[in-house]
Structures are given as C-alpha cells and as structure tokens.
Symmetry: none
Subunit: 406 residues, 4 copies
Amino acid sequence: MKIESAEVFVASPGRNYVTLKLTTDTGLTGLGDATLNGRELAVVAYLQEHVAPLLVGRDAHAIEDTWQYLYRGAYWRRGPVTMAAIAAVDMALWDIKAKAAQMPLYQLLGGPSRTKLRAYAHATGWSTGELIASVQQRIDEGFTAVRIQPGVPGLNRTYGVNGAGSALGAYEPAARLALPEEEDWDTSAYMRHIPGVFGTVRDKFGPEIDLLHDVHHRLTPIQAAKLGAALEPFNPFWLEDVTPAENQAALSLVRTHTTVPLAIGETFNSIFDYQILIRDQLIDYVRSAVTHAGGITAMRKLADYAALYQIKLAIHGPSDISPVGFAAALHLDLAVHNFGIQEYMMHPVQARDVFDVDYTYADGALYLSDSPGLGVRYDETAAAAYPYERAYLPVNRLKDGTLHDW
Amino acid sequence: MKIESAEVFVASPGRNYVTLKLTTDTGLTGLGDATLNGRELAVVAYLQEHVAPLLVGRDAHAIEDTWQYLYRGAYWRRGPVTMAAIAAVDMALWDIKAKAAQMPLYQLLGGPSRTKLRAYAHATGWSTGELIASVQQRIDEGFTAVRIQPGVPGLNRTYGVNGAGSALGAYEPAARLALPEEEDWDTSAYMRHIPGVFGTVRDKFGPEIDLLHDVHHRLTPIQAAKLGAALEPFNPFWLEDVTPAENQAALSLVRTHTTVPLAIGETFNSIFDYQILIRDQLIDYVRSAVTHAGGITAMRKLADYAALYQIKLAIHGPSDISPVGFAAALHLDLAVHNFGIQEYMMHPVQARDVFDVDYTYADGALYLSDSPGLGVRYDETAAAAYPYERAYLPVNRLKDGTLHDW
Amino acid sequence: MKIESAEVFVASPGRNYVTLKLTTDTGLTGLGDATLNGRELAVVAYLQEHVAPLLVGRDAHAIEDTWQYLYRGAYWRRGPVTMAAIAAVDMALWDIKAKAAQMPLYQLLGGPSRTKLRAYAHATGWSTGELIASVQQRIDEGFTAVRIQPGVPGLNRTYGVNGAGSALGAYEPAARLALPEEEDWDTSAYMRHIPGVFGTVRDKFGPEIDLLHDVHHRLTPIQAAKLGAALEPFNPFWLEDVTPAENQAALSLVRTHTTVPLAIGETFNSIFDYQILIRDQLIDYVRSAVTHAGGITAMRKLADYAALYQIKLAIHGPSDISPVGFAAALHLDLAVHNFGIQEYMMHPVQARDVFDVDYTYADGALYLSDSPGLGVRYDETAAAAYPYERAYLPVNRLKDGTLHDW
Amino acid sequence: MKIESAEVFVASPGRNYVTLKLTTDTGLTGLGDATLNGRELAVVAYLQEHVAPLLVGRDAHAIEDTWQYLYRGAYWRRGPVTMAAIAAVDMALWDIKAKAAQMPLYQLLGGPSRTKLRAYAHATGWSTGELIASVQQRIDEGFTAVRIQPGVPGLNRTYGVNGAGSALGAYEPAARLALPEEEDWDTSAYMRHIPGVFGTVRDKFGPEIDLLHDVHHRLTPIQAAKLGAALEPFNPFWLEDVTPAENQAALSLVRTHTTVPLAIGETFNSIFDYQILIRDQLIDYVRSAVTHAGGITAMRKLADYAALYQIKLAIHGPSDISPVGFAAALHLDLAVHNFGIQEYMMHPVQARDVFDVDYTYADGALYLSDSPGLGVRYDETAAAAYPYERAYLPVNRLKDGTLHDW
C-alpha cells in the first residue's frame, strides 16, 4: 500500500486548523492534525514543501520507519514546527492502517484498557462568583473534574479567563488581531489571590469534585513550591505547568515542599524534554499533545516510559488541537494502561461543519466508537468556506514592561 | 529608531539561503540569516506570516526584549525552525545597532579578544590517498587544522565524502534531487577503518597539524568511548558529534573512557540542550550556529556559560550557514574570551554574486574589517537570478535497512 | 581609540568614594566606581600603582581583553580589592564605548527590557513603632517594596538600625571613628523578636506592600531555615544574606525547610562564588554590586548564568556604591531580561555636589535618561572640597565576646 | 601584652617584599610577610591605612580573635590582598607569642612531628640538555625532589624557564619593567613536548629521584587528564596547578583518567577554595602560602581539614614569599602531622642583607633552630637601601592574541 498523495488544508472554522490528508493507492485516506496555534503556516510550509514530496510512493504501512525518516532525516530535530509536521504524518498513517485493518485505531494499539475516558473541563470566571457559576455549569454537564481559572485583582486579563466584567463565555486565547494582545501580570497578586479562590470553590462544591489549576509557566520554582504548599489544604487534583521547565531539574525544588500532584508538558515536543522529570519522578502527569510531540508513535513511547514511574498520561486537549488530533489522543488514552485524565476544552461550533467525529461525550467521560481508524472525516468543501485568518496567542508583560512567560 | 519593514528573501546561489532584511525609519538596514538546510521554506513562512507583522513599528534598539517577545511570545519554544527565525531577527537588529553606533559589531560585544580567528577546513577523500591529497591541498591553502573524513570500505557513500571513485571536489551534502539520497552505513566497518586512516594521515603530516573528525551522531556512547580510546595515539584535535546527545548524560560514558576532546551541538537550538553537557563538563567545544541557536543574543549567553567550565566556542560553519550567519559567527568569535576555532567550509562561488562580505581569509585564519555592523551586503537583484530550488540532506540506513542517524 | 590617562580620585562628600577616570586620545572620558567601604585606599593603591600604568596606551574598545588582562594577568585572583579595581576600569571603558556610540550604555547591552526599574528602600526603627513610621515614610515616597530592619530587645545596636532611642534618621553603617563600633548580638533574642515585628508591620500595611529583610550573615543554616519557616505567614519578599555562604552548599538546608525567597551576594566578587548556589537553585536573587564583582562585563555574565535557573538580578545599592557604580547597575538592570528589583539606599546629599547624575527616582522606580554612556559627571573641583576621611564598618560580638559576623 | 605599634616596610633586596612589624608594650616584636607579587602596594595601603589603626592597643595574645576581627570585621572577605594583610598580622602575633613563651613557634603549634623538612628545588632549562644540567645541579646540592620546567619548541618564553638560548641562571618571573612581559603559549606544542622531556630526565636520573612539574593553570580538565595519563609511565611526584580550578569540580574529570598525584592552591586564599577539592578527594597536596591564605591560624585549619582525607601539606615557597613567610611555613610544616614536602625556590642573595634567618638547608631538607618565635630578624636600615621598585608578573597570550592564564 503506497501513499499516492499528501494534501495540506488550512481552514478557520472558529479558529485555525491545519490538516494533513494522505491518500493511498488502495483508496484509503488518513488524516493528521498539524495545527500549531499562532504559527500555523510554518507547519504548512514544512509539510507541503519539505515533507509531502517525501511521502508520495512510500509504503503506508511503514509507520515507524517513516517516523524515523522524518525525524532523523531532517537532521534538524525537535521543536514544535518539526514535531507537529511529523505528528500529522504519523496520525494519518495510523488512521490508514486502522482503516486497512477495519478496526478502530485503539485496537491496533493493544485494545481498550478501559471503557470510558474521564475528562476534565475548563471553568473560568474573573470573579469568584463567576467562577463558581462556571464550575456549576460544568458539574451540570456531568464533569467530575474541572480546571478552575479565576481572574486576579489588579490585572486586566490573565491566562484562561476573559477580563473582569466580560460576559461569561467561551475563552479562546488566540486572537485574530494584527498583533498579539499584551496581557499584564503580577505574581504576588496572583499568589495572594489563588488560595482563597481555591478554598471558596472547595467549600462550595465539597471534597469529591476534582479541581485542577493551570499556572501557565509563570512561577519560579520557589514560588511554585510555595503555591503548592498553600493549596494543599484544598486538595488540588494537580497544578499544571508551574514553571517553564526548560530546566527540568528545577521541579525538584517544588517537589521538596509540596505533595500537590504536578502536571507538565503541553509545550514539550520530545521524550527528552521529560527525561529528568520522569527519571527523578518530579511530575505525576505528562501533558503533551499527540499533535505537538510527534504523533501516536512518539506519544506511545512517552506514555510507556512514564508508566515505569507510575506517571500517568493526561493529554493536552485545548481548542487548538483539532478534532483529528483530539481523536488521536482518545485512541491512545483508551489503549495505554497508565491513562490519567483527558483535557476536554471542546471546539468552536463551526468546527463541526468541517470535522465529523465519532467520539462522544457523556457524563464526564469521552467515548470512542468502533468505527475504523481515527473516526474523523474532513469536509474539504465546508473547510473552504472558512479561510485561514492570522491569529496570535497573547504575550504577557510584568507591570514594569518586562516580557514574562504567557 | 523603529523597524519599518521586514523582508524575507530566498535565493539559491549555488545552494539555498534565506535572508531577512530589516529596514528602520532612519534608513539603516540589517541582515539576518534564517537558512535551515532542507527546511528553508518553513522558516520563510514562519518569518513572513508570523514574525514580520510583529516587527513593524517595534523599537529596533530593544534587541533583548524582541528576542524574549519572539521566544516566549510564540508559546511554542525551541526547535530549529523557531530558533532560526528568531536568530535572523536578532542578527539583523545587532547589525542595525552596530551601524547606528558606527562600529563593527564585535565592538558592541566587548571589543576584540584576539587579532585573528583560527579556522579549520574540510578534507575529504574516499580512499586514504585521496584524503591525503585533500589534506595537502588544505595545508597549501594555509590551514593548520583540518577535518578529515574518509570513505569506509564496503559502503557506497558516507557523511562528508563523495562516493568511492568520485572526482575529488567540493562536497555539498544537500542535493537538489526529488528525494534525499539514501546512504548506507556499517558501524563496525567504520570503527575498524578509521584508526588506520588517522594513523596514516598523522604519519604523513606529522604531529603539528591539528586533525579533526566528525562522527555525525552515528555511534552509541560505548562505541564512541571505544573510538575515542582507539584514536588517542593519533592525537585528534576533537571528535565531533559522536552520539546523538539528545540524552545529554550519555556523553559521561564516553568521557569515562577517553581524553579525546569532544565537540557537539550543530543541531542544538537552545542553551538547555547543553545544560548537563556543560555543567558536568562532558564536552570541550560548543558547536551551535548563530543561525540555528537563536542569534547573537542567545549564543553570547551560551558562550559565557561554557566559559565557566573552560569550554570553548567552535561555531558551526558549513556552506548552509549563509555569509550573513557566518559573519555573525566571526563577530562573536572575535569578542568572546573563550573562542576555540571556527569551522570554514566556504560558500559556493555563486554566493559571492549575492553576498558581498568584508571578512577575509588568509593563512589559516579569518579576519574581520572595521566596517560598521556585520559587514555584509545583500544584492537583491543578483539574488533574483538564483531562484530557490528544493534540496534535501541525505538519509542513512544500516545494511539491513534500518534508518540510522545521518 | 587609545587610553591616554587613568586618574584615581578619592573624596568624601558625606562618605568616601573612589572614582576612576579614564581619558582617551579622542577626548572621550569614562568613569568607574572603585569604592570599597572601609578599605578604600587599598583599591586606590591597587589602581594607581599597579593598574593605571597598564592602561595607558591600550585600546579603549578592547573591554573583554582588558578585563581578562587584569583578571588573569594579576595572577592573584578574586577578592574585593582586586575585583573593585577591575570593575572600575570596566565601567569606565563601557562608559567610553557608549559615548563613542552616542548611546546610553543600556543600548549596547541589548536595549531596554522594561520601562522602569522597581526599587526598594530601607526602613529602620529600633522600636516597632519607629519602624512603622519609617515604613510609612517610604510608602509616602512612593516605594512599594521596603526593607525592614528593627532593633532587637536587649541589644544596644544592630545591623541596619540606629540604637534604641536614637532620633530616627539616615542610617549609615560606616563610621568616621578611630575604630569600628562594636555592636552586640544575640541570635536567640533576634529570632524570638523578628516574627512578631514582621507580623505587626504586615498587619499595619496590608498584604500588597513587599517587605524585605536582611539577616546580614548572622545565622547558621538551620537557624535560617527556622527563621524562614517562621516568617512565611507574613510573606516576605525575600530574606537576604541569611548565612555567610562561603560554604555554598549550606543554603540547601535552608531551602529544604522554607519557601521564603532567598537573596545573597553583596560580599561576593566572582561568578564562582555563586556556582553551586545557582546550579542547585538555592537562591532567588543575586545581589552583587557591579562595583565589587568585576564590573559590567562580569555582572552581565553572572546575570545571564542566573537566568538559566530563573534567578533574578537584584543589585546591591547601598550608599557606599557611588553614583557611578549605581548608574552602572541601572544600565544593566534595564537591559537584562531577568531583572528583579534594585536596592536604593540613596546617597548623602553632599554627593550631589560631586556627582551629577541623569538617573531619576519617581513613584517607587528608577529611570535612566537617554544621555550617552553612564550618564554621570564627576566634578573634580567640588570633590577636592571633600577630602577622604578614614571610616570603618562596625564589628559584631556575641554577649560572651565572641566575634560574630556583622 | 598590648600591641603598641604596627609598621609596614617595603623593600626590594633583589625583589619586592612587604614586611609588617608589630611591637608590644613588653618590647617584644613580631614580623609578618605581606608580599603580594606585583600588587605589593595594595597590601601596604590595606595594612597601613585600614588595619594598623585597629591593632594598636589590642591584646597581642588574642590571635584567633584578631584573625576573626580582621576577616569578619572587614565585611569584604577573601581575596589575595585582604588575606595577605590578615596573614601578616597573624604571623607577627604568633612570632610574638612564641617569643613570649621563649619557644620556637612550632612548639606552640604542637611540637615537632619530624626532625627535618624534605624540600624540593626548581630545575629549569630551555633545552632538555640545559634542564638535565639544572637537575644535576640540584641533585649535587642534595635535593631528592626536583621540579622540572623545560622550554617548549616554537615558543619564546614560558613559565618557569628563561627563554631559549638564555644563559642558564636564576629564574624570577617578576620583571621590573614598565609593563608585564607578554609570553606566548601553545597548549598543543606543550603537550607534545613534555612527555619526551619527562622520559629523558627519568631515564637519565633513574627511578628514585622525585620529579615534579608545574602546569601553571594552563590546561582545561580534559587536557590535564590527557597529560596526566601521558606522564604516568615516568612516575611524577605530582602535577601542580593543572587547571585554574575556580571551578573546583573540574578536577574530577582529571581524576577519572589518571593516578598522577595532583597539587593545587598557590593562588587560593581561603579554605573554601578547597572545599570540594578536599571533600571529593580530588587533590593530594594543598599548596597555599601561609602569606596568601590568611596566616598560621588559617593554614593550620586547612592542613587539619586536608588530613581528614589523607591530603598533605606542600606549602608554596617561591622567591616572592619573603623569608618571614617562608619561616612561618617551616614552623607549620614541622608541627602538623600531614606534612608532605616544602617548595624551596630560595631568595635573591641581596635578601640576606635584610632578612636574617635561623632556618638552614642541608642534604635536601630544611631545618629549624630552637630560637624563639619565627627565627627571623628584619634589618630596617639595610632594607632602606633597597627601595621598592614596581614589578609585574608576565601575562600570557595564545598565538592568536587571546589572553591566557599565565
């Protein structure tokens, strides 16, 4: 079975998505997600100009070989653009192979290890009142695990929440503006505010609901350690991305001071980004996206390595992972033994026009059907009605103007 | 001083080069190299679509802030495409700042720490006889340090050398072919062959010539350790890229068994790729390119970090670093205290039509002039005569077909 | 551009300052601060007798080379006298280079990374009431971060505070006395007293004001750990110099027990004094003075090394760093990405007669102008009216007479 | 017993020496050596202006307290100038105390642990022939341990040897010139040359003579490792100062590859400079001078700490340690249990006019008399005939002009 064509689509049904479609000489097609939020066209060029010509004529079954061919053959390794391109090819080939086997992909990955995939949703509210309303809505939707992101007094806008006084609605960080929004940040204000919010939410909803929180890389290790200790009484499910973690060893300082579970990795692209974190058991959840960490092939190896240390898989699931990438995550989630939880931010409603998916949500969990492959169909005609629009993620500055991690 | 425009040029005078040109409202212009061999258009798209709009109107003097803006503001960090794009902006801004100061860039970096920059050249020959002829040619050109890359009996082609029986000539790995060349590889044959070649070359040219060798990531740590020990009697200047080094700690095994100096890093993009290598003093030379590791701003920090451990700078200087990126390397080389040696592969002759440079070579060393900025001019008209052509680096397979590091 | 003369001035406008002035053959001049509180004339002799003769005729642009020449060329390395002398030369050369470029120095260092420099001031009061009055005064002056130093019951005098019952006024530790004052010290009394003071001040001024405290090297690691834990409820911005730290590893014991941020380094002279502290992430702020740690060249390397570990720059800014050294600090602060905060003790009023500065203070922050170079002018005539007077820092003894760290 | 006066003398009988003389109210006097080669007047100013006023009236018996008073009371710690000043005071006080006890100093330090002090001398010769002649001369003088320093082909001059073709004579690095001599250096040439020289000398003089060699900080760790391994067949007594060792951990790399004994420390001023070296057993001999590491008080603690790890004392004994400092070394050598060997470079003949000493040399060993105190007398009148002359140690540059460790 040879690959006959490799096509790259960019569409913006609510937000930008980059989709790779491989077609084989047997007529089977496979889809891959190559969306890199705010840097989409770099991946498009990478795929169209540098990867697509390599794929035509290759054995569609040789997935591992193709992965190595693209990883080692590029010479220039790692990084989000490269790994998103490889991931898209990898997903599409697994989609094809599963269709060829007439099985859902999770069967090729070892079969189901569970019946459903527990998901967590986002609750956001600038004020604690708004946040509580948002949490309630998630609970009403059936979620038993909710990521809570409040505003911070004195700031104009912060990660994960629309600004103070905004109508409570969907939060989407990527803005279709000429320039990135510049948010402001004050670590002290944030650290003073969060424990109270956590306490209030915990009091309101009781001990059984799992509460998650994303720090979005904004703390130093000692600050993260302090925050972890401060939140312990409220029993967080996890704290996510507490530090930038390019210096992996830094999390050992956090680990010394708190038993709050730690999750990290949505910006990582390689198993080597986790090497010390996992070996030294500095984290509890690996959070890479299938889309950004090299596809099913690479993520399965990462999950298996993590399992050695009882670390679980909690794949990144924001709106900028397309339904294709999200389906890939679910198949892996179902198959690996060390599944933890799946983020489920949901996609813009317009995305349903373009992506037809077989996975479903009910009662706090995600379910896969038994349709072959990934179970996602891409409507090229519908996509054409949503042309790409340039969008940027925000940047973040301290009060004095210093560029800070967003 | 504001940036008024950001233009990206791709041209192929002998090989592909990506060049960024920034123009300020004072009329000053700056050049940056964004060439990523075999993945050029991904960086072009990254710059044109996602970075150029951010630059117009920014303060051209705020180089550190712009670096952080592009690094942290992208959210998705590191990797060759991202860091080449950032590097190009950074180089162009330093070019502008130095022109504004009416000084050569090295003056802004602390002034000259030496009078000339020792360079090493490549000698290649499939047979030992051809290799010796090539070394002799380099010596005749004035070089006192030569990288020797022989063929390996039983293989068809290998890194750094044209195939057996080819006319001795310029070696350029990137091929303008529809697909990458597939080379073959046999580690055992290589390891049996190299010590004899080294011995013969050493015997022929005596103890004073410095002999370097590039293993191009093809060995495991224990193989590298064994090779290092086997070559010690012939006193190599360094062994380069003995392992892939994504697992940085692996070089400690090599280090345990041999005192052969180790160089690594041309595929690295971040100071964090070196964190353990430097901290544990596992290497002797850092080999990143200014172009691929985030520009002058990032490379200076890397050089200074390395200096803490007596590790020296030996910047990557293949033909795919454009004359702009190469000039940036020379300015940094001249300024930092811990300069080691500069690779000088030279550029295709056609590149001279497009890039007018003020650096010169004489008697085994490179020299910078005192012209302001980087001292490189880009001829857009000439460049237009050399349109981009897709080209690929080779890939590499073991005898049984296994994809191996190239 | 050659150095034509090197002159050393010592003057005492309110307190002693040592100032180096370099003049080039182009007529440009540069200033450097070589003040070493209580050991001024050792640096004067070092500069006049041993360094000045080396400078005349040297290339004023070769700053890195001159730094290495003075550091390695002295053979006897490190230490406050040597490094203050080197620092003065380095500052003066950067001043000259920036003037030659017609740019403020921060532009040569990469341009501004922020718009203003947050500063902290000192509040001192023997009694808690006096301390609160002093904090209020700082707040009225616009400061949002204040270092609080109370007296300790049972002691006669302690670091940072005038003795019990003294009129609240400027605190200047260096005394123009025949002999150093001998203060007394009781660690237990101090540790019993401080948490209550912190609590009272925090209660009085609320959660938003940042409170700093300087322990001035007086505790053992386990005492420091205990103090850190005791102060955590009052959320100190940092604890400074909790231990002597000649044994760098000792801070790991402190770090194990508290998440209070740690700052250290005003007595350090070399990046190697921080090697373990930074590598093992035992501190949060590096506190060296540009004047005592080898100048701009050395401090920039230190700041960049610290940045690898998210450690921030918080340069020493007492009255004994002259306005020249203080301006150098501000230029570095503005340029580096990892600026934290700047100490601002202010200078005696008489210093304004001698040093004319372009930096300004407003609303809790310091600002640099865009005047070329460091932006400080030295009035030699005015200086002559303030001849040097010997002065000593105090020493410190336990109740039983044991000499203790002051 | 109170100190009544503190006088500082600088004289140049053959070379510069700084001598402190303390006089007590009992009429006893003590001498201390404060010579810092090439930076003499900085220590003079430190002592005269900042230390002498502190001493008058102090209890001459309170040596430990005075040491702490000067170390902690200066606030600015460590470094060669500070520690040489403290050392001079410390030596003079021990001289006084021993005189007061009417005992040689070694008796107060615990009494003699041996009857004589094995010494090593310097042999120097540019050519191997000259070197052999010099070794023979040392053997004829009775030495059984000789430091051998040959020239290096292609260089003009190197550490420890007069240039090629010079008349073989006393080697004294400090030159009374307007500027430091600039030597040249080529590590490769050095490393190729030394093993042959060692082999020839070993062959010539047989296995029993101990051969030492000083690398004078010029190698990186891996180069030092390689040199150590290369010299092992010739059984060196030690290699000294193979690396700069500001990064103490670096010697672990050397240690991995060779069992050649390592000595280091003549530029160190503090026990903390040895902390990792001793704790990790990376060296075999501590080489500080009593004069530069804080005196008898500090050196005894260093020797005792080293003894914990079977590391021995081998005190620095060049011509720039005055006969006073040298006598102090001998008293310590005689008393401590872990004495290794004593360097004995000897002093210029003119020094005998000024310093009258009771120690003697015979048959490869140094002997102390039973005269009270240090056993050295300083002739102020004779000294006045040898006024101070500025002198500089050389600096060292690589062939390309890079400043290298001298």
